[in-house]
Amino acid sequence: MLSIKNLNVMVENKLILKDFNLSVAAGEVHAIMGPNGSGKSTLAHVLAGKEGYEVISGEINYCGENLLALSTEQRAQKGVFLAMQYPVELPGVNNMMFIRESLNAISRARGEEEYDAVRFMKLIREKAAAVELDNKLLKRNVNSGFSGGEKKRNEILQMAILQPQLCILDETDSGLDIDALRVVAKGVNDLRNKDRAMIVVTHYQRLLNYIEPDYVHVMIDGRIAASGDKNLALELEEKGYNWLIEETAA
């Protein structure tokens, strides 16, 4: 589904991703771990098409298409979803209206029927219950005055409604207490199926107790320094990142 080859990305004249390679097939869950500043969030942002990241060389193929040639909204319409590390507030924009706008923009782009109010209400109530998001938060403005946990649950709610092909979770676990973590993980696990791929960016092994990955990659200084299965995450938990950093430097 996704194939990244020799990707080099600069941010503010500094090379962040260096000859980065990754292949993700449908049905797989990949965890990306690594210390701060190793390029994990940059990777997530480049995949989603955020501005301010300069791709120097390399390619990204997504479902047979050149992902880098697509605009941010086209990527979203074709099924790329990024659950943000810091979801922004949209003052004055009603959460429910926003999610419906998003769903319908994607439906329109795919030539599918738009959701009318009744059909949409049914859908959002069902999905909100699944992520234990209070209905009153649906009536508020997008993320306005939401707690950290509520913002993350709102991200998972949108993911559940939009049913993307490729889900990227950028440190969705950061700042969550154990209950919120459980709810978020459940939301993610409910979405796992053979047609959908997931990239879970995380700093801690903790999340992986709830979302069991097929592969674990460790990013050090802009490239993958080690790959393995979930046991690699456990090893990291025990030994920290330093042994890998030393190995990479050597």
Binding site: A48, G49, K50, E51, G52, S71, T72, E73, R75, A76, Q77, F81, L82, M84, P87, V88, L90, P91, G92, V93, N94, F98, E101, S102, A105, I106, A109, N141, Q158, L162
Partner: protein
């Protein structure tokens, strides 16, 4: 990062849809202002002597006044001798009263503007007075309104047909000597709308006036007077557009509202005069005096304005709350982009007891736009238990624009209460990214955020126009995003 700024910048450029010129034979006075010009205007309109006297008195006073400089706006000095003060499309007959007698070119112009004058085509339940340059060319539904006792006609007709009402109320809220532009208007006003709602009548339909400037080098000086007698209700809306021209054109209007005991007037404006091009060339100078007097107890005046056009907007729709328990409201959305400048706000003068006022001002600045809120809330000595709440919010799009807030508060009664809140926010790249990541285009994202910001004001507009206003704001702020 240069590319970032461009993406926001392209959003705020868009074409002005109403910039066409109607090719029509017109009767235009030569440029310049003098007693003789004023006499000619008055003669063309076949006015009674008292009207001409009032004009000349205003003119004499105006000569002694100075162009005000206190507003937060900049423009080259206006040459008042270079403007033509009267221009009227030539009608087949001087007294065209039925639509059949109106030049088809004119009817076509209004249809093109989305304001068809043929009664079977107009928005259901909205009567229109169409003012083209200096004269009113058509007023719809007059007969139906007359059946309810409502007078809705051009002010020129009213001067002929209802002189007692005009003499009683004209200049009673905005005296001819009020300020530089109001004084100029009193001297040279050419047309406008007159509305009178009799005692206890709820006006059966929305009334509206559509102002169109067409001729080059002319100014438009219209005067609107609305009188709501005891216990009556009226909702009135005005809209305005003008062709795209490189020269600046002056629009100096006066609007007076009078609400007697228990009467209510709801006055809405959607102002979309030509704003000039991106470099600030051309556009309308919109210097307008609007004021309402809540004369009777429990009277209620509410101003709602959506200001998207004009190179310069200078207007402060105000309420004088004489009557006890009277209510004044001001809801405003002002958008400036390109090189537009707006200095707008309101005055709430609380004279009566238990008077209440609400101010909600939403300023949106994009491009190099400068947006100023200027407001005065005055609680007079007699204004026991008077209340005011003001909310002034500014939204910035891009980093080349500016927002300014000048609230003036004067309280002379210790039981009066005044509250003022203000915020400034910015549409950030992160907000746009968030929306785009959810499949929403940048244009739709900006329009969604801006409409959310203006929601409180839009809900005050009559329903048909709230939809129009949202669309207009969309057109104003969206552009050719590639």
């Amino acid at each position: 990062m240069g590319s970032k700024h461009q993406s926001v910048e392209t959003l705020i450029k868009s074409d002005y849809k109403y910039g066409f010129v109607t090719d029509i034979d017109s009767d235009t006075l030569p440029p310049g202002l003098s007693e003789s010009i004023i006499q000619q205007i008055s003669a063309k309109k076949n006015e009674p002597a008292w009207m001409l006297e009032w004009r000349l008195k205003a003119y004499q006073r105006w000569l002694s006044m100075e162009d005000p400089e206190w507003a937060h706006i900049q423009h080259p000095e206006i040459d008042f001798q270079a403007i033509s003060y009267y221009s009227a499309p030539r009608q087949k007959s001087a007294t065209a009263k039925s639509l059949d007698e109106i030049d088809p070119e004119l009817l076509a112009t209004y249809t093109k503007l989305g304001i068809p004058l043929e009664e079977q085509m107009v928005l259901a339940g909205v009567a229109v007075d169409a003012v083209f340059d200096s004269v009113s060319v058509a007023t719809t539904f007059r007969k139906e309104l007359a059946a309810a006792g409502v007078i809705f006609c051009s002010i020129s007709d009213a001067i002929q047909d209802y002189p007692e009402l005009i003499q009683k109320y004209l200049g009673s809220v905005v005296p001819y000597s009020d300020n530089f532009f109001a004084c100029l208007n009193a001297a040279v006003f050419t047309d406008g709308t007159f509305v009178y709602i009799p005692k206890g009548v709820r006006c059966p339909m929305e009334l509206s006036t559509y102002f169109r400037i067409n001729e080059a080098n002319t100014g438009q000086f219209e005067r609107t007077l609305i009188v709501a007698d005891e216990g009556s209700y009226v909702s009135y809306l005005e809209g305005c557009t003008a062709p795209m021209r490189d020269e600046n054109q002056l629009h100096a209007a006066v609007v007076e509202l009078v609400a007697l005991k228990d009467a209510r007037i709801k006055y809405s404006t959607i102002q979309n005069w030509y704003p000039g091009n991106e470099e600030g060339k051309g556009g309308i100078y919109n210097f307008v005096t609007k004021r309402g007097a809540c004369r009777g107890d429990r009277s209620h005046i509410s101003w709602t304005q959506v200001e998207t056009g004009s190179a310069i907007t200078w207007k402060y729709p105000s309420c004088i709350l004489h009557g006890d328990d009277s209510v004044g409201e001001f809801y405003s959305v002002a958008v400036t982009r390109g090189k537009q400048q707006a200095d707008t706000g309101t005055k709430m003068l609380h004279l009566g007891r238990n008077t209440k006022s609400t101010i909600v001002s939403k300023g949106i600045s994009a491009g190099h736009g400068q947006n100023t809120y200027r407001g005065l809330v005055r609680m007079a000595q007699r204004a026991e238990n008077a209340r005011n709440h003001s909310q002034c919010d500014s939204l910035l799009i891009g980093d080349q624009c500016g927002a300014h807030t000048f609230p003036y508060i004067e309280v002379r009664n210790p039981t009066a209460r005044v509250e003022h809140e203000a915020t400034t926010s910015k549409i950030s790249e992160d907000q746009l990214f968030y929306c785009k990541q959810r499949g929403i285009s940048e244009e739709d994202a900006v329009s969604m955020i801006v409409n959310g910001f203006c929601k409180e004001v839009f809900k005050e507009l009559p329903m048909e126009f709230a939809v129009e206003a949202q669309k207009l704001l969309g057109v104003t702020l969206e552009g050719a995003v590639g």
